[in-house]
Symmetry: C2
């Protein structure tokens, strides 16, 4: 029997796997830990599994009183609760490192979003996980809302990456985006970010680039297979950027973004973190607000980009819970697809071209024909048609295809013309 079949037989024959609850032991009951507790029932429903957070570790028992969870300040009690998966949400390096090592040594899978722990102790933890034959997952540690890190760990060949360039810190991208958008100072944009929850009260780790450089170290280990000490990477904060810098960057054909970048040619690596001028045509130039994104380039110059939300307790907890499911199940979930649904064509705006052989209608005439079908014109192109043909182009507000087709039938009848329509995205 082949290896593949061995695996499959275990997965199928082990009755506990399909029916048992997944028990989570939670280290740390802060904002992320509480979101894990709150979202676990929804994740269980989506996965068709039962998931239960069976115990939570806090440093001070008084701090978790409002959390609906058996709490302890004794790590031994967490392990005694026999979880299948430990979720580490303490942050920082200790006691996180010691407890993760203990979990792995006990054969318990570990999920964490702790980039500091991974940046400084990643090799030790990954080697321990490998030696124990136990999963260690950390998808939420970099661009928490976009699954790509574990995927590329499993699939190194097609990616064949030689450089990465990304926006991996949402606070600094929000601050720089707001400075430019609202033409405000760095201090005002940072205060705004704090008011809106995009920056912590102490934002120093974000604005100085320390958060981003830890993530870059995690990415480089994973994607380049090279150990890099975060402090060895050139790191600059965003504090010096002024409103005038943004204006002149635009004048020079680009925008200022908080960039983390690394390129390698084994064993040489060059890397930096800091606010950087990004040409307008670069894929990262349009990533605004707290959104994160990363571009991976391969040996042949092909580029793959992953873009999405970078942080926040709910986003992080959702990704942690997917890691929990993956670590506990080690296979794709399966749901019988729902019965064939009626497939409706949607209501969308429409891009309309009116060509005519017997003269054009003017704007009000077109609008009046449209209005009779409850279709409303949003904009009409004012461009002169330089190529000799006669025509009008317009965008409508959303309507159904049958409505726009009644409009074009009426317009064609009125002008002896041939209207053409295509959908438009909102």
């Amino acid at each position: 029997m082949t290896v593949v079949a061995d695996h499959a037989v275990v997965a199928q024959s082990n009755g506990r796997e399909r029916s048992s609850e997944i028990h989570i032991g939670l280290l740390g009951v802060g904002r992320v830990g509480r979101a894990v507790v709150r979202l676990a029932p929804s994740a269980a429903k989506v996965a068709g599994q039962r998931i239960r957070v069976v115990s939570g570790l806090v440093r001070d028992l008084r701090s978790g009183r409002d959390c609906p969870l058996p709490l302890t300040d004794d790590p031994g009690a967490i392990f005694a609760s026999a979880p299948q998966v430990i979720v580490e949400a303490l942050g920082g390096t200790e006691p996180a490192r010691t407890l993760v090592l203990e979990a792995l040594a006990r054969g318990i899978a570990v999920v964490t979003a702790n980039k500091t722990l991974l940046a400084y102790h990643g090799e030790e933890l990954l080697a321990a996980a490998w030696a124990a034959g136990v999963p260690l997952r950390y998808e939420a540690s970099v661009i928490a809302g976009v699954p790509f890190l574990g995927t590329l760990a499993r699939r190194p060949f097609a990616a064949n990456i030689t450089s990465i360039t990304g926006i991996v810190n949402g606070t600094t991208n929000y601050v720089l985006s707001e400075m430019r958008r609202a033409r405000i100072s760095y201090a005002d944009a940072l205060a705004e970010a704090q008011r809106c929850g995009y920056a912590e009260a102490d934002a120093s780790k974000d604005v100085n680039g320390f958060d981003a450089v830890e993530k870059l170290a995690v990415l480089v280990r994973q994607l380049a297979g090279v150990r890099v000490a975060a402090p060895a990477i050139e790191t600059r904060g965003i504090g010096g950027i002024t409103a005038a810098d943004h204006e002149h960057a635009a004048e020079l054909g680009g925008t200022i973004k908080p960039i983390a970048s690394a390129a390698w040619d084994h064993p040489q690596i060059s890397a930096f973190v800091g606010p950087s001028f990004v040409p307008a045509a670069h894929p990262l130039a349009k990533i605004e607000g707290s959104t994160n994104g990363i571009c991976l380039r391969d040996r042949d110059g092909r580029e793959v980009s992953f873009i999405g939300p970078g942080a926040g307790p709910d986003v992080t907890a959702s990704t942690i819970l997917d890691d929990v499911l993956e670590a506990a199940l080690e296979r794709a979930l399966w749901h019988e697809p729902a019965p064939a649904a009626n497939t409706a064509a949607p209501s969308t705006p429409w891009f309309v071209r009116l060509a005519s052989r017997s003269g054009l209608l003017d704007g009000p005439e077109i609008a009046s024909v449209c209005a009779r079908q409850n279709v409303w014109v949003e904009r009409t192109s004012s461009l002169d048609t330089r190529r000799g043909g006669e025509g009008r182009w317009l965008l409508t507000y959303p309507c159904r295809r049958d409505q726009i087709e009644r409009v074009t039938t009426a317009l064609n009848a009125a002008t002896n013309g041939e209207a053409a329509v295509w959908r438009a995205l909102a």
Copy 2:
């Protein structure tokens, strides 16, 4: 012992897994099949595994004479070669469907990039794979160069997707991009695409939207959990678009892209495929040439985008080989990271702000100071500084940090100023 540990122990204790060759049986030796044969040794090297294509199925034995592989026109001989993984590269529905079902029934993992097969027989094949407890992978069937489909199958919770909008056909995106860029007709752009290898000689399946709608059906089953028949989805080709349409679309604030889109609210689904007006601010508006991309939106309006190469024999074969490794190993690969490398800061262009308390240097004076450090000015901002402060902003060609710092030291000495520098992406 927990389920997780059971899995891990199998993975560790099975000596064959770490040392054995992965044997591939290849169905179909066309452009993709040949690329699989050619790239398998590189994939094996990256993965630290041995991979061997042990047999190939062809319809006509004369067609594969130049392929370095034992070939047969008898499917039974493929199964007799005892492969761990079948790679299906025949295309179309039959005999692909029958052979994939037979492989799964025999407990052999299957990898395919065949979106037609999946669009029309996906439920049957996935149910058969599940019943047999055998992997069936098809990452390369949609946006071949970007791994996201299998990832989201394993990780459904964080994504929680309610709509998808994508550019999933490279031929039509190339044709529409070229029409706009070079201001040429549809016929000329299509001929150009065929000349450059972005379109097949018979491009009808691409330009009519049939390729895209099959991919959309695969995506909807996977991400919405709903069965949709591809022919039930509104599908339009790109043939009617003119150069004038592109000009007026730009005038109306957008661009015309080949879009596949679906939104759902169980069990209702609305979907369409066709050339569409895309507003300039939309994430898909900037995806040019043969590149593909997809935006997934969740219940809370959060958006995740995956962008990259969509097709081509080598891209497809690379992704197939990653699927083979995943299917055969069912776990992340592990490489001991290389020893700590020297981390160099790279040479990049620089964005420079020169502020001065005692008067500014003019452009030639600045260029002369730079030139003494072998630093060359690319552009100087001509924007009037409307805020009262005095300064100059410029972009340099790439140089090292020590060079640019010697430049700013010299400029500061000459002007009693305070220069600031940030890196720029090329």
